[in-house]
């Protein structure tokens, strides 16, 4: 047989448990808009019963713990997809800028090539005309300056990407430091047997941000978690973080971890996308432009050298320089005197025989087996295709990420309806327990009054 006092304790214990549960509900409602917050559920537990004779009495309820609801595997998937999205975002962003240089219009390389051939055609109707010869030189110099501008724009974009790489590495370092710090706090709390839900939420948010910047693999261990890149370079190990550094290597910033160059191993996160655009796509575009520029220069120089200029002298070079890396950036017109265009095939001033050889370049497969126009068309296709594939992948990655976030929300998100229902539930339980306390109090009074005379 239990005592009235123990019943009183049981009721006040219930009030405490319900109040604790209500606190969890309040915290949930308070954090309804906090990014990365995982809802908390109070875990209520029966107290161990007391056996008196052949009766077993329950001893009430206590709040065992407040637990965050989360799915660690889902969290990993979100991290992976965030990394994928970071890479695609950076990559398509970079190439979308590059493709604006190849929009068909009045002044892209393709139109300038057409204009040059057009000016040569016009000259052939009146080959001794200085005005028409000047027209050819102007068209040639428009073409070379378009080559120069396109190449220097691509190089400038490459330098911007280089700056982005450095900034991203700094962000990675800040994040890994903070994650290592949180690791320490979480481990301490867990060693004391306490819930570290809030810190884990914060760490998940940071790891997610980190995944958006660089490849991240997560390994759980007793001393918190270890984060590495996909090829095993350590980023965080327990309470230690490992800073990445940048150093210029052949003109661009490479990323080093403890002395090792890890640049080419990064494939995910913004860094993966930036590096793919900076070290592969844009250099490939520049190389294609160099091939086109040097192919055209060589063909025009050869054709011009096969004829005679207005003064009857053998023709010289039209374009400089002719070959090698940087042709597109440096190509220029070699002559300023319109008389030096070798229109004549026999040395007589009004002959246009050699202009046919210059015009013929338009239809010759002189650049990697393609005509100049086809080759340029292939460049346009290649850059357009990269952007359009990247955009499509980005969209599907966005959908996947959205689904995963939905899934996370359905598990960990705070529902105000649910919290309102819980609130009433705990409030009613609290009310009931408080009533019991009042009742027991009256009973105790009755007992106390038993000893006094009326």
């Amino acid at each position: 047989m239990s005592s009235l006092l123990s019943t009183m304790f049981l009721a006040t214990g219930a009030m405490a448990a319900d109040q604790g549960a209500l606190e969890a509900t309040t915290n949930n409602a308070a954090n309804v808009n906090t990014p990365g917050y995982s809802r908390e559920v109070p875990i209520l537990q029966e107290n161990p019963p007391v056996v008196v004779g052949n009766l077993t009495f329950g001893t009430g309820v206590s709040l065992a713990k407040i637990e965050s609801v989360r799915d660690p595997i889902l969290q990993l998937r979100i991290q992976q997809e965030t990394g994928q999205q970071g890479a695609l975002n950076a990559f398509t962003g970079a190439l979308s800028q590059a493709q604006t240089l190849f929009i068909a219009g009045a002044s892209d390389i393709g139109s300038e090539i057409s204009n040059l051939f057009s000016s040569i055609s016009q000259l052939s109707a009146n080959p001794a005309s200085i005005a028409l010869r000047q027209g050819v030189l102007t068209a040639a110099s428009n073409l070379t300056s378009t080559f120069n501008n396109t190449a220097s724009n691509l190089s400038a974009q490459r330098s911007n990407l280089d700056l982005n790489v450095v900034q991203s590495v700094q962000q990675v370092n800040t994040l890994t430091q903070r994650i290592a710090g949180l690791n320490g706090q979480i481990t301490t709390l867990q060693n004391l047997g306490q819930e570290a839900g809030t810190f884990i939420d914060q760490r998940d948010v940071l790891i997610n941000q980190l995944s958006g910047l660089i490849d991240v693999s997560e390994i759980k261990s007793d001393s918190g978690i270890t984060l590495t890149t996909s090829n095993g370079t350590a980023l965080v190990s327990g309470t230690r973080s490992f800073s990445l550094t940048t150093q210029p290597v052949s003109g661009v910033q490479h990323i080093f971890s403890q002395g090792n160059d890890i640049t080419s191993t990064l494939s995910s996160g913004a860094l993966g996308g930036l590096i793919a655009a900076r070290d592969q796509k844009i250099p490939a575009l520049l190389t294609s432009l160099d091939t086109l520029a040097s192919g055209l220069a060589t063909a025009f120089n050869t054709a011009n050298a096969g004829g005679f200029d207005l003064n009857g002298n053998g023709g010289g070079a039209l374009f400089t320089p002719v070959a090698g890396a940087g042709s597109a950036a440096n190509i220029g017109v070699a002559i300023t005197d319109p008389a030096l265009i070798a229109a004549s095939s026999d040395g007589s001033a009004a002959s246009n025989g050699n202009l046919a050889n210059l015009s013929a370049i338009q239809d010759q497969t002189i650049i990697a087996g393609a005509t100049p126009t086809t080759y340029y068309g292939n460049i346009v296709f290649s850059v357009g295709n990269d952007v359009s594939n990247g955009t499509a992948e980005l969209q599907s990655s966005q959908l996947v990420l959205q689904q995963l976030q939905d899934q996370r929300g359905s598990i960990s998100g705070v529902s105000l309806d649910e919290e309102a229902a819980n609130m009433t539930r705990y409030q009613q339980a609290y009310d009931a327990a408080a009533h019991i306390v009042t009742t027991v109090n009256q009973m105790l009074e009755t007992v106390i009054n038993m000893g006094t005379l009326p």
């Binding site: 493709q99 052939s124 007589s348 009004a350």
Partner: protein, 297 residues
């Protein structure tokens, strides 16, 4: 809890849907405004590459058409010059026939000879005709083709060369645009200046007038034959111009089918995206305004 828990915070989904729809609307409105559905290479990489060669071909056709216009002027000048030459030679022949009449006095023949001297001057100036500053019968030289020269039997020497020029007026199609002056006016099968010179001499000496007239006649036939060259060239220009104009129409049709905006479909898409945006916004404004908390009073 046995029921499936749903994501209580769907706002990001709606925002993403809104952004997506707005992107579609932007694309549609750009397509409608420019009339082209390829406004950057990534809109249709293969189409963009096709447009590069389509544009190049159409610019080439424009160039050929410009060449044709300019050649038309040149060839018509040459043709009408030769027409004047033919008229002058006809006059020379009838003067020669008149001079061969035995009843004429020496002074009559001297008058005819002096008129023929004038015709010779006229012929020389015709042979030195220029178009846009360039002599049209000097071959590929830029010098005045026919100059007076006392050492020459005809009194006139050809200073040009025998070069000819071809101009491209189509892909793999080039047209010869001139004949050397020597072939026109001082050919062995009909020498314009020599024959007039000989006729003048014959009339002055009253000797071999008939054979001199037949010499002029040969020159007349020769020039008439040569004139056919220019007539043919003008015909070729005409038919090539027709061909190029229709090629341009074909290229424009091809460009349309590659890149033109389908106005009906795009307008519909534009309207649909507008409606979708309104629906998204309406959903966003109505959601999450109430929760169970509002009913617990």
């Amino acid at each position: 809890m046995s029921s499936i828990r749903v994501n209580p915070y769907p706002l990001p989904d709606l925002l993403a849907a809104l952004a997506d729809t707005q992107q579609q609307q932007n694309t549609s409105s750009l397509d409608l405004a420019t009339g082209s559905r390829i406004n950057k290479p990534s809109d249709d990489p293969a189409g963009a590459a096709q447009m590069v060669s389509n544009t190049a071909q159409s610019s080439q056709a424009d160039t050929f058409l410009r060449s044709i216009t300019s050649l038309n002027g040149l060839l018509q000048t040459a043709d009408s010059t030769l027409s004047s030459v033919v008229t002058a030679l006809q006059r020379a022949i009838s003067l020669g026939v008149e001079g061969a009449n035995g009843t004429l006095s020496d002074s009559d023949r001297a008058d005819i000879a002096s008129e023929l001297t004038g015709i010779k001057q006229q012929l020389m100036s015709l042979a030195n005709t220029s178009y846009q500053g360039e002599f049209i019968f000097s071959g590929t030289a830029t010098v005045q083709p026919f100059v007076t020269d006392a050492t020459s039997p005809s009194g006139i020497t050809y200073k040009g060369n025998t070069g000819t020029n071809n101009v491209q007026i189509g892909q793999n199609y080039s047209l010869q645009i001139n004949q050397a002056g020597s072939q026109m006016f001082t050919s062995a099968s009909g020498n314009v200046f020599q024959s007039i010179s000989d006729l003048i001499n014959s009339l002055q000496t009253n000797n071999n007038i008939d054979s001199a007239v037949s010499e002029v006649s040969d020159a007349f036939n020769h020039i008439t034959g040569q004139r056919v060259f220019y007539g043919n060239a003008l015909n070729q220009l005409q038919s090539q111009q027709t061909y190029l104009n229709s090629e341009k129409v074909d290229l424009a049709t091809a460009a349309d089918s590659i890149s033109a905006t389908d106005m009906a479909a795009t307008s519909t898409a534009f309207t649909q995206s507008q409606e979708a945006i309104q629906a998204d916004l309406a959903a966003m404004s109505r959601m999450s305004q109430v929760s169970l908390f509002d009913y617990l009073k």
